[in-house]
């Protein structure tokens, strides 16, 4: 037995001789954000120490605490919501379950900043809800304020839980009934099974979703601005726009990136050796709930959907209706078209890069490659405005260089590099690679090395292996990645603002222009359009995901 054990161990560790290609691929992709970070560091020449001293004395301690509270609060609440909802709809059957199963993903289409301004317009002291309540209970009625730490955590969690829900639902759905049966045969109650089997097995996916939520929260500027909740991003903005010190802002940004990198390193470590394939068995039959349990099971997703999708949707609709007649012109449709075009192009680019990266790590799983992959996905935690500067600086430098070169040889440099769609897409890629990478990597993890071996024996290696074996198996992961990136790009503001070429005003830019002038109700129309355009691909994703028999 001992002999065959050793042989088996060798068998598992055996890999085709790693060549350098994958390493270069990973390095090239990681170079994008690295260039950005380097550009940020280099452009932060000697910040006025006076400004930094001021920030560290009066701003940084407060915002650091706020940021930690916000990130923990949102990550935990969104993680809890997403996991609980995913578990509920994949384990039990109750009224409206099949509707909830896909509808719970739809709030992903609503940008957090839109949910924020709807929540404040609707629920703050002056909003219709509290006004109506004061009409009933008298003018001295005081409710807990929505513009508070709890309020911002709640709103961001409602906007971001779908990231966890999406990944956790996939994990629960593919666990199959076998895991539960094994646990039951070993004397575990269903509740014990949840804690000891289902959750631990779904952990990589849940953690992946929560990491996305955490990074999204860290990078958020719009939502916290609407709530006037000061975070690290706010401090960066403050240094930039109030102290007129881009240098101080970039240094703070660098610090933020460092903190994120450290946090991610810990996360990565905790996740080590957690990637694995699912247990077999057909999809577990859902247990039918009755009576008050069914009512409670219906109430949770219903209330989440109501507050994250329906009520905001109704508010947006009613506001949009007021201005639709005057605002819904050709310009508006063009903006919607550009939003979609950018979303599609970015989705294609990010998916390509994400596959390349995931493969590099799969084929060459040494610490260097894994580290490069980690760096490549760091951009997601960078505040968009800062990242935009980071892309802009090297691009403008390159542009100026090309211009000088052209002039030196007596020619003329025709275009502005920094004003091209390519730069915008590059910036999106840096920002959203993590979003595309997570589902593809998770999906790839489920393709066992045995499948690779089988395919290799049949003569499929390298690119052919990817094309003939993996791509079909990766369809779900790819589609998920593409949809996530598309929707994220639709919602994205600061990068689009800063790096867009002339004439590339999108729906999100409309929202920005209107909200920054306090025109909330007029912003509802483009905001609604972002939501609706985002809903389409999500619905597509759902149609596929509801057929678990497919790859």
């Amino acid at each position: 037995m001992a002999l065959s054990t050793a042989a088996a161990a060798r068998e598992v560790r055996r890999h085709p001789r790693p060549d350098r290609g994958p390493l270069f691929v990973a390095a090239a992709i990681a170079a994008l954000p690295l260039t950005v970070l380097l550009a940020l560091a280099l452009s932060a020449t000697g910040a006025p120490t006076e400004d930094m001293r001021h920030l560290f004395e009066h701003v940084v301690p407060g915002v650091l605490l706020n940021t930690v509270v916000l990130v923990f609060g949102v990550t935990l609440l969104a993680g809890l919501l997403g996991t609980a909802l995913a578990w509920l709809v994949s384990t039990y059957d109750f009224p409206l379950r099949s509707l909830f199963a896909w509808a719970l993903l739809l709030p992903m289409a609503i940008p957090a900043y839109v949910l924020a301004f709807v929540a404040i317009a609707g629920l703050d002291f002056a909003g219709p809800v509290q006004t109506a309540l004061r009409g009933i209970f008298g003018p001295d009625l005081r409710l807990p304020p929505i513009r508070s730490t709890g309020g911002v955590i709640l709103v961001m969690s409602l906007a971001l839980y779908p990231y966890v829900y999406l990944l956790a639902r996939g994990a629960f759905a593919t666990q199959g009934r076998r895991a539960l049966e094994v646990a039951a045969s070993l004397g575990l109650t269903p509740r014990q099974s949840l804690l000891r089997v289902q959750l631990p097995m779904a952990r990589p996916w849940i953690a992946g979703g929560m990491a996305l939520v955490a990074m999204e929260t860290l990078a958020d500027f719009g939502t916290v601005a609407v709530f006037n909740y000061d975070t690290f991003t706010t401090a960066i903005w403050r240094a930039w726009s109030a102290l007129y010190s881009i240098e101080a802002a970039l240094q703070l940004a660098g610090l933020l990136v460092l903190l994120v990198a450290v946090a991610l390193a810990f996360e990565q470590r905790a996740q080590a050796a957690q990637r694995h394939t699912a247990l077999g068995g057909t999809a577990a039959p859902r247990l039918r709930l009755r009576g008050w349990r069914a009512a409670a099971a219906t109430a949770l997703p219903a209330s989440v959907l109501l507050s994250a999708l329906l009520l905001p949707g109704i508010a947006l609709l009613s506001w949009a209706a007021r201005h639709a007649a005057e605002d819904l012109d050709a310009d508006w449709w063009a903006a919607a078209g550009r939003s979609m075009a950018l979303g599609l192009m970015a989705a294609a680019l990010v998916c390509t890069l994400a596959i390349a990266l995931a493969y590099a790590v799969r084929v060459r799983s040494d610490p260097v490659t894994r580290g490069l992959a980690r760096i490549a996905t760091l951009g997601y935690a960078l505040p968009g405005a800062v990242l935009a500067v980071g892309v802009f600086v090297p691009m403008a430098g390159l542009n100026n260089l090309l211009e000088s070169a052209a002039r030196a040889v007596g020619g003329d440099w025709p275009g502005y590099l920094q004003g091209s769609v390519a730069v915008l897409l590059l910036a999106y890629a840096v920002r959203f690679l993590a979003v595309g990478h997570a589902p593809i990597e998770a999906n790839l993890g489920r393709i066992t090395p045995r499948i690779d071996d089988g395919a290799r024996l049949l003569g499929a290696t390298g690119f052919a292996l990817l094309r003939r074996v993996h791509l079909p198996l990766l369809r779900t992961g790819l589609l998920t990645a593409a949809v996530l990136v598309f929707v994220d790009v639709m919602k994205e503001m600061p990068i689009t603002l800063m790096t867009r070429p002339f004439g590339w005003d999108t729906l999100a830019i409309r929202v920005f222009e209107l909200t920054s002038e306090g025109e909330w109700t007029r912003a509802a129309l483009p905001a609604l359009a972002i939501v609706l355009v985002g809903l389409l691909p999500i619905a597509l994703l759902l149609r596929r995901a509801d057929r678990p028999d497919r790859g």
Partner: protein
């Protein structure tokens, strides 16, 4: 606590040293002597004044003159950074902001070109433009006091509040609403107060305001006005045009304006203004657009789009704005306010105005 702090300082040190070892963002100086390419008949505008407030005028200008106007909107900070980074290669000819501080900073960075132009100096009063003529105010907004007419009669309010400093008094505890300190309008106001009273006195006033807050600062003046209407607070400090817009939208609202410090320094005003960029490729076309924007007829509409006061004294504001009454403006040069903005920001940070 020791470990994280040393980690922070290590990180900072690394970043600083990385930053110092290399020259910063490309400077525009090197390429200035090169001849700009032949002027194409168009003007490129970087504008922090939002598109919906300028698009109609630009369209009209294109129609009447045949000169296309291409605009990029963003906040002033990113636009300034964009100008800085692009250096001599910037496509921008004009830069428009909604705050004097941003104009001052852009000029200070060498991004705006001085412009000796008789039309502009004739149309725009001296205190609304840069002493070196690198930028010109196009519309004026006042940051003023707004109060609930449900809670106070104009007479009673006028007797209790003469100016900004009065809102720091204990009588207003729990009754004052403010916007976030992160917004440039408040920064500009505090900078003006510093110019007027000096830092220690300004600090006292701001501390008093914060102590009187009825609720957390709002993220917008519109929300603040709604809070006054709903009775969450009795008084607040807002830009006059938000009330103007609200009245234009909804008709009469139970909020009135009290022009502050009419016996003294006057109400704080800020400008939305424009400047020619240092590396403008279409200089002549840009100057013609700027001149056009400063004419009395266009000025009225430029200001009316946002219920502001035209910078050109020949032009009239809207009826709604005229209904707010005449008032004494703080005559301080807006450039000085711009210069003091970082000081104001630090003061607000110190006092914990969120």
């Amino acid at each position: 606590m020791a470990a994280p702090r040393s980690l922070l300082s290590l990180a900072l040190a690394l970043l600083l040293s990385a930053g110092c070892s290399q020259p910063g963002a490309p400077t525009p100086a090197a390429a200035t002597d090169a001849a700009p390419p032949a002027s194409s008949p168009e003007v490129v505008v970087y504008t922090a004044r939002k598109y919906q407030l300028v698009e109609d005028l630009f369209a009209e200008y294109t129609q009447t003159t045949g000169t296309p106007v291409r605009a990029v909107t963003d906040d002033a900070g990113p636009l300034i950074q964009r100008l800085r980074t692009e250096g001599a290669n910037t496509p921008a000819d004009l830069f428009i902001t909604v705050d004097a501080g941003d104009l001052w900073f852009a000029a200070d960075q060498g991004l705006l070109a001085p412009l000796d132009n008789a039309t502009l100096t004739a149309n725009i009063p001296a205190n609304l433009r840069d002493p070196a003529n690198r930028w010109f105010g196009l519309a004026v907004r006042a940051r003023t006091i707004a109060y609930s007419t449900t809670a106070y009669t104009p007479e009673r309010f006028a007797s209790e509040v003469k100016g900004y400093a009065d809102l720091a008094g204990p009588a207003w505890k729990g009754k004052l609403c403010l916007r976030s300190s992160k917004h440039v309008y408040n920064r500009s106001l505090v900078a003006a107060l510093i110019a007027r009273y000096g830092e220690p006195r300004t600090e006292e006033i701001v501390r008093g305001w914060i102590a009187n807050l009825a609720t957390e600062p709002f993220s917008s003046d519109t929300l603040l006005l709604e809070a006054i209407i709903a009775g969450q607070c009795a008084v607040g400090i807002v830009n006059h045009y938000y009330l103007g817009r609200m009245i234009a939208d909804q008709g009469a609202v139970p909020v009135a304006i009290r022009w502050p410090d009419q016996d003294g320094a006057g109400a704080h005003v800020n400008i939305s203004g424009a400047g020619l960029t240092t590396h403008a490729k279409n200089r002549d076309a840009a100057v013609r657009l700027l001149e056009w924007l400063s004419t009395a007829e266009v000025q009225a509409r430029f200001a009316a789009a946002n219920q502001e006061y035209p910078a050109n004294p020949q032009a009239q504001p809207t009826d709604i704005v005229r209904g707010f009454g005449d008032f004494l403006r703080d005559p301080i040069a807006v450039a000085e306010v711009g210069r003091l903005q970082p000081t104001a920001a630090k003061l607000m940070d110190r006092l914990g105005w969120r």
